[in-house]
Structures are given as structure tokens and as C-alpha cells.
């Protein structure tokens, strides 16, 4: 791990991934092409405060206020799966709330700054939630169906 904010390739999580990957396939729901929007080699791991939650289609989103490497406040736009996919995977519209402290791991946008495809969201109470966004074509899982 390099820093607590910004883009990091988390060796620890890769190790954990190897452990957990034996448990089977990932959530099958997807809508939009992952590879056209996100870089499967550009990962991030940030900590911050949820400032907004959008329980909307085609993707739910939440926004995380955090600081960048220079200490400047920035807001990340985090993409999740659709509400219907998330709901079938255990989420509700109240799972994340404004003010929650979260740690988010995922893939960064190909072009836009501070946009991410959230893979795991770890809440302050220790729950690890699967973001399940844009599975199609993503480098680590989804089959699109």
C-alpha cells in the first residue's frame, strides 16, 4: 500500500481476493460495459465520508468526500450495480447513509477524475459490501449474465 488516499494497488486485498475467490461466481447483474468506462488495472482504495446516495437506475451511486494527496477536499462519484441487482444481493436504499465513514476499493475511471467503480465498500462497523457494478467485461468477474 502506498497511501491512504488516492490510487493504490493493494497487495493485501489481492491476497484476500485469492482466498475468497474460491467461493464461486460473482453477482450476475450488469448493465453497462465496464471496459469502456473503467480501467481494470487502475485500482483505488480510499477512506472518506458518504456525502450523497443515489438509489437510482441504471446504477446506484454514492459520493465520498475525502482528501487527495495534497490535502485538498475532493468528492468521488462511486458507481454501484443497479438497485435491483443490489437488492437481490442484500442491499437496501438505506444500507449506505450520508455521514457514514467508508473505505472503498475499486477501479478508477478511464478518463474522468474521482470516479470509481466500487468493488467493495467497507463500512465503519466492519461490514464489507459488494458493489457489484458494471460486471460485464470487468477484469475480475462478471459474466454479464
Amino acid at each position: 500500500m502506498r497511501t491512504k488516499h488516492g490510487i493504490v494497488a493493494s497487495a493485501g486485498r489481492v491476497g484476500l481476493a485469492a482466498i475468497f475467490s474460491l467461493f464461486g461466481s460473482v453477482a450476475p447483474f450488469a448493465h453497462h460495459s465496464f471496459s469502456t468506462e473503467y480501467d481494470g488495472t487502475k485500482t483505488f482504495n480510499i477512506k472518506g465520508t458518504v456525502s450523497k446516495v443515489e438509489w437510482t437506475n441504471p446504477h446506484a451511486r454514492f459520493y465520498v468526500d475525502t482528501t487527495d494527496e495534497n490535502g485538498k477536499m475532493v468528492t468521488w462519484n462511486m458507481e454501484l450495480a443497479s438497485p435491483s441487482a443490489l437488492a437481490r444481493n442484500g442491499w437496501t436504499s438505506r444500507t449506505l447513509k450520508v455521514g457514514d465513514q467508508v473505505t472503498v476499493t475499486g477501479y478508477a475511471a478511464k478518463v474522468a477524475q474521482y470516479r470509481g467503480d466500487a468493488r467493495s465498500v467497507i463500512t465503519a462497523d466492519g461490514r464489507s459490501l459488494f458493489g457489484g457494478a458494471s460486471d460485464d467485461g470487468r477484469p475480475d468477474g462478471g459474466q454479464g449474465q
Binding site: 486485498r13 447483474f29 437506475n57 454479464g144
Partner: protein, 283 residues
């Protein structure tokens, strides 16, 4: 379905004995690599990530009072998502004409032009990763004059299939789902004949094309409680040298699951992360 539960691994307060950890890594590492091995993050240890599906229900399919098989249920699948050629019999290839090859080459370089990405309907026989429901048993028998297929995604949409014996109109305004007439064969197979399509949707994410000359004949069967089989014959002389047939299965969803609202246009930010403009806006 898995429910959100406390994660044991990412929470530093919870310690996993290293011996157990070691056994997992050593014992399953190779399998895990083969299973995933697809990216820099792999799975992320989020315990909502894996969906454990129950086995397919293999008891006989239900029947309506008149003996016709009931297709009612909430299903996922039944059509192509990534590549329609995956539904061909083994060893066969799509009978693409040169015009189709050329168009697919273009679309391969313009994959963000797929209308589906911009919240347009998926047409026929394309499917989505989201459920659909057959609404068949309107009057308690197969004599219902209409049959509907209701799709949750890509956008809340429906197909209406006329079951009253009418023919296709001589002239049709082209539409995303076309004009569908249906009939039963031996109370086991629903045959849906559809024409009048527009040429806008793609058969799959790969961009496999069709024209407004498209004619589809779907044959839906339910070999057991948990499975629908959709065998589709596709004719389109503009892009294919001969008709071809693809088969896709759909799987019955768990009891209690229902169609959910899916209004794709509500907050579609597609393109912003990757820097793509909507190819349909203002055109």
C-alpha cells in the same frame, strides 16, 4: 441469496487464525487462480459478492387447466447478451454476408454506440441480466387473446403477443420489439412470429447486426419447472445468407423474487467515466 453480513476479513478487529488462512491459501490457491485470475483486484472479499443459486428445479413444468404448459414465472436469460453466436449449435458460425462483417468491424471500433448502453430497448431476441416475466394466464386458459412478456431491464418494457389468430399487418411502422403473433403447438411450445422491427438495436454487445427485414420465430418450451428454452430462428436477407437458429435457456428465479422498477433513463451517467458522448443525442 446472500445477505449482507459482517465481514470477517476486512475488519481488523476480527482475527483469522493464520493456520486456517494458510490452509485456505495453499489448498485453494490454484483453483482460485483458475476460477478468477482475471484482474488486479480479483474478488474483494465482500461477502455479498457471490450469489449462491439453488439447484435448477427439475420437477415437471406446471400446466394450465386446459393442459397447456404454463410459462408463468420470473426468469433470467433466454436470449443473447454478449454474443448471439453463443446460441448456435456447436461448430456452426453465423452466415454473415459481407455487409454484416463490415458493419461488425465498424461497431467493434465503436462499441459505445450500442443503443442499449444509452437506455434504449434491447429488441429481440436479445436479453438482459435482469428478469422478465411471462404473463400468460389471463383468463385461466391458453385461450387468452394476448400474452405479454414484461421486462425489468434494460428499461421497463413489454412485448405484446397476439394470440387470437390475426395476421401481421401488411404495412408496419418499424419498432424495437416488432409485431408479434403467437400460437401453441401441442400445448407444449409457444411459437412467436415477429416482424416489423426497426434496425436500431444490436443483437448483442458484440454488435451483431440486423435490418428492418428481420423476421424472428421464437419457440419457447419449459422442459421442467426451472427451465425455459428459447429456440429462435432468425431470417434477415440483408445481413445473413440463410436463416439460422440459436438457443438460449432461461432460469427460474427464486420464489418471492419479483419484477422491480428499472427506469434506466433516471440517472444514466454512462460515458462520463470513459469520456464518451451520447451518439444519439441531437441526431
Amino acid at each position: 441469496m446472500l445477505r449482507l453480513i459482517k465481514s470477517q476479513i476486512p475488519n481488523p478487529k476480527v482475527q483469522i487464525p493464520m493456520v486456517v488462512l494458510g490452509i485456505w491459501v495453499l489448498g485453494f490457491g490454484v483453483f482460485a487462480h483458475a476460477q478468477e485470475g482475471r484482474g488486479s483486484l480479483g474478488t474483494v472479499g465482500a461477502l455479498g459478492q457471490e450469489v449462491k443459486r439453488p439447484p435448477v428445479r427439475t420437477e415437471p413444468a406446471p400446466r394450465l387447466p386446459d393442459g397447456t404448459v404454463s410459462l408463468d414465472g420470473l426468469w433470467v436469460g433466454g436470449g443473447p447478451v454478449n454474443d448471439i453466436a453463443q446460441g448456435l449449435p456447436k461448430g456452426e458460425k453465423l452466415p454473415l454476408l459481407p455487409a454484416a462483417v463490415k458493419l461488425m468491424e465498424y461497431r467493434a471500433q465503436h462499441e459505445t454506440d450500442d443503443p442499449h448502453l444509452w437506455c434504449m430497448p434491447m429488441g429481440v431476441p436479445r436479453s438482459t441480466p435482469y428478469p422478465f416475466r411471462f404473463v400468460q394466464d389471463i383468463t385461466g386458459s391458453a385461450a387468452s387473446p394476448h400474452l405479454f412478456i414484461i421486462h425489468e431491464g434494460n428499461i421497463h418494457s413489454f412485448r405484446q403477443i397476439f394470440m387470437d389468430g390475426r395476421k401481421h399487418p401488411a404495412e408496419l411502422d418499424p419498432t424495437w420489439f416488432g409485431h408479434s403473433i403467437g400460437r401453441w403447438e401441442n400445448k407444449d411450445t409457444l411459437v412467436i412470429d415477429t416482424v416489423g422491427f426497426n434496425d436500431k438495436f444490436w443483437f448483442d454487445r458484440k454488435g451483431t447486426p440486423h435490418s428492418d427485414q428481420l423476421h424472428t420465430i421464437e419457440r419457447w418450451t419449459r422442459p421442467n419447472m426451472g427451465t425455459l428454452v428459447n429456440t429462435v430462428t432468425i431470417e434477415d436477407p440483408t445481413y445473413y445468407s440463410k436463416p439460422f437458429t440459436v438457443t438460449f435457456n432461461a432460469r427460474l428465479q427464486a420464489p418471492g423474487d419479483e419484477i422491480m422498477e428499472y427506469i434506466c433513463q433516471e440517472n444514466n451517467q454512462y460515458g462520463q467515466a470513459g469520456g464518451h458522448e451520447n451518439p444519439f443525442f441531437g441526431k
